[in-house]
């Protein structure tokens, strides 16, 4: 149902009447942001749209100013950022504003998106509004990635290397696209220059899509916490001053948090390694993107196994793009007739789990993928040796690398025939090695354990030194208990992520019994007021 009918704008002065006949921009502004009716029951989750407009403005203005001083050249980029921080008047402030602003932008957009998911703002007739939002989000991700390269720190360089590498995973065209984007075989000056140009460009494309997003919004009108359509004038209030004032208030609270980071914790959301100038010859101990991209990083790394003909690297890339892609088709996945999860008690619980899963994926993305979270037992190793006894040593030669196992087995067999009670074969090259056997003496064995692999290795070394010369050589058998790593956790979380969109929402829409949805927006609001007054 179209909210807006007839424009109520009346130009007051001669100039505004003249302008209205030629370019009705004031009329458009009035109709869109003053008289425009919004549901009266909107809660604070609806203020994030205004905050996002502010964030976009802050990033564009601070970015243009930074571009007056930044030098997009591999030899000068890092130094130019230092110059901005040290020598440019208020450069430290503008630089911090831009870096922290990116994080604030993403924080606000995630809350804005979760609001949309919870209240069903993506459902008809707002499908295109939602899709435009997804496009804005994808452009934001691209812009952030490009921008992070510009300071040319270690994380800038290596993050760009990793992400452009994943394009190489695409079959057939992957390699050429990779070279085309980089402008060469590796991330270098051509890459930096074009990334700067594109980083400057994309925010203006975002601004254009935002205009479409607001246009689409105004066609359908705002959703509201009940998910019930606007039916009468009673349901709405004019945007100015009601929504304007609420947005301003909420935004000033948002700015308090923004300012706290800028002035007291400017580097808290960044990574120390990006203060090390980029070094193509040395990879940092860990390569991680900024926090807002960590969930996707976790999904990318969760695929450490091949799926049929699709190798793990490609699987990870496809899953990562699919995790954003699935959002685009969400309006058609959710089959529920009820918009707002306020009245969908089962869906709401799955949604809460979904939010936790997203946060947990973010945590996983920042961890070492091999980090062990749980294991059934400690790491153990059993050492066997023979004390006293005679050692016989003989070289092993295989015909080819593939024939090694057979040659080793043959060497062992021949040593045993010669009376050896314990044998060990060491491979030194592709086709050569040594075989040793001990005959006589007493066989001993001991098992050591450790909570971590390092502890176990230390225990092995300690045991070897304590036995010392008594044993000519040891046979070490290491056992790894079943472990649950960060990668395993990421796999479970990724599964839930896709399950939520592809299975849960479609099924719940059809099977769930929703709560009682109010008839109109105004009724519960008035009922609440009456109850409060009474």
């Amino acid at each position: 149902m179209k909210i807006h009918g007839h424009s109520t704008y009346e130009p007051q002065s001669g100039f505004t009447r003249w302008l209205d006949k030629r370019l009705p921009i004031l009329r458009l502004s009035y109709d869109s942001f003053v008289a425009y009716p919004v549901p009266r029951n909107l809660n604070y989750w609806w203020t994030f749209g205004a905050m996002l407009s502010l964030c976009l403005g802050v990033q564009i203005v601070s970015g243009i100013v930074l571009a007056m001083h930044y030098i997009p050249h591999v030899d000068f980029a890092f130094a130019s950022v230092q110059r901005i921080e040290r020598d440019v008047p208020f450069g430290w402030l503008i630089q911090n504003m831009h870096a922290v602003g990116a994080s604030m932008f993403f924080l606000a957009v995630y809350i804005h998106m979760f609001r949309g998911l919870y209240y069903g703002s993506y459902k008809a007739p707002r499908e295109l509004l939602w899709i435009l939002g997804c496009i804005i989000y994808a452009l934001m991700v691209a812009t952030a990635f490009l921008g992070y390269t510009l300071p040319w720190g270690q994380m800038s360089f290596w993050g760009a290397t990793v992400i452009t590498n994943i394009l190489g995973a695409l079959p057939l065209v992957g390699e050429s696209i990779q070279v085309w984007i980089r402008g060469g075989g590796a991330i270098d000056q051509p890459t930096l220059n074009r990334f700067f140009s594109l980083h400057y460009l994309l925010p203006f494309i975002i601004a254009g899509v935002v205009a479409l997003h607001i246009w689409a919004l105004h066609e359908a009108g705002q959703n509201n916490p009940t998910g019930v359509d606007v039916k009468t004038k009673e349901d709405t209030v004019p945007f100015t001053p009601h929504a304007t004032m609420k947005d301003l208030f909420a935004t000033s609270l948002f700015l308090i948090m923004f300012a706290t980071f800028i002035f007291y914790m400017p580097d808290a959301l960044g990574h120390a390694d990006n203060y090390i100038p980029a070094n193509p010859l040395q990879t940092p101990p860990e390569i991680v993107p900024e926090w807002y991209l960590l969930p996707f990083y976790a999904i990318l790394r969760a695929f450490d196994f091949n799926i049929g003909p699709i190798d793990s690297k490609l699987a990870g890339v496809l899953a990562m793009f699919a995790s954003i892609g699935v959002l685009f088709v969400l309006p058609w996945l959710d089959t529920s007739r009820v918009r707002s999860m306020r009245y969908r008690p089962i869906a709401r619980q799955f949604f809460v789990v979904f939010v936790i899963v997203c946060v947990a994926l973010g945590w996983c993305g920042g961890q070492n993928p091999g980090l062990i979270l749980a294991k059934t037992s400690d790491f153990t190793a059993t050492l066997t040796w023979v004390q006293g006894g005679q050692v016989v040593e003989r070289p092993v030669q295989a015909e080819s690398a593939d024939a090694w196992d057979d040659a080793a087995a043959a060497a062992r067999a021949s040593l045993r025939e010669g009376g050896a009670t314990m044998t060990a074969v060491n491979r030194e090259a592709a086709t050569t090695g040594r075989a040793r056997g001990v005959s006589g003496g007493t066989q001993e064995s001991r098992t050591v354990s450790g909570e971590t692999i390092d502890e176990m290795e230390a225990a092995i070394a300690e045991l070897k030194t304590s036995v010392g010369q008594a044993a000519p050589f040891f046979v070490v058998e290491r056992r790894q208990p079943p472990t649950f790593t960060v990668t395993n956790l990421s796999q479970i979380l990724t599964a839930y992520y896709f399950l939520f969109f592809l299975i849960l929402l479609p099924v719940l829409g059809l099977r769930e019994t929703p709560g009682r949805v109010p008839d109109t927006i105004a009724k519960p609001v008035i009922a609440k007021e009456t109850a409060g007054a009474a």
Binding site: S62, H69, D87, V88, P89, G91, I94, A533
Partner: protein, 185 residues
């Protein structure tokens, strides 16, 4: 019920409502202005540019009757070691018919107000007509610089005597750091 209460307080409501809007608006406006200042100020010369805004010159390298050209803030500057003959001519010409009248002593005064030294003349090397760099020609009509672009003639104090240039060569601000060096700017 809410409406009834509103009507009763209609009179006092107006002023209270307006006050809070005016107060909030004023505070927000102050904040907006304070926020705009850093964005304007950042275009002002940065600390490194300001630090290069002075150039020090070692005068022992300039022989009597010679001049050197140094760069100061990206512009060329003449540092001339004048001969007594040039100085005498400059003083004589103080009373000549000058397009841009100025005493030689006033053209060599230091930036801090101290008098300069007659043998040291420090001028911005751009012709005041359209900016070309003039050449010092000994034995020329007025004893000083000649600009090849449009034929402006300057005297031994750098004052315009003949030609299209409207003003004298501009003295660069300087101070003597000691007997053998000056700081320009």
């Amino acid at each position: 019920m809410a409406e009834a209460t509103a009507d009763a307080h209609a009179g006092t409501e107006t002023t209270r409502r307006d006050f809070i809007y005016i107060a909030a608006g004023a505070v927000a406006a102050v904040g907006a202005a304070a926020t705009i200042w850093p964005f304007v100020d950042q275009m002002n010369p940065a600390a490194d540019t300001r630090a290069l805004s002075t150039t020090e010159v070692d005068l022992t390298a300039v022989e009597l009757g010679q001049q050197i050209k140094v760069m100061w803030q990206g512009k060329p500057v003449f540092v001339r070691h004048r001969t007594p003959a040039e100085i005498a001519q400059a003083h004589r010409d103080d009373y000549a018919n000058l397009k841009d009248p100025q005493m030689d002593a006033d053209r060599i005064v230091q930036e801090d107000g101290q008098p300069g030294r007659a043998e040291w003349l420090i001028l911005e090397a751009n012709c005041t007509h359209l900016g070309c760099v003039p050449t010092f020609v000994e034995g020329s009509a007025f004893g000083g610089w000649f600009c090849p672009c449009h034929g402006s003639d300057y005297d031994t104090s750098g004052r315009i005597r003949r030609g299209p240039a409207p003003k004298n060569l501009v003295p660069a601000p300087y101070v003597f750091l000691n007997d053998t060096s000056v700081r320009i700017g």
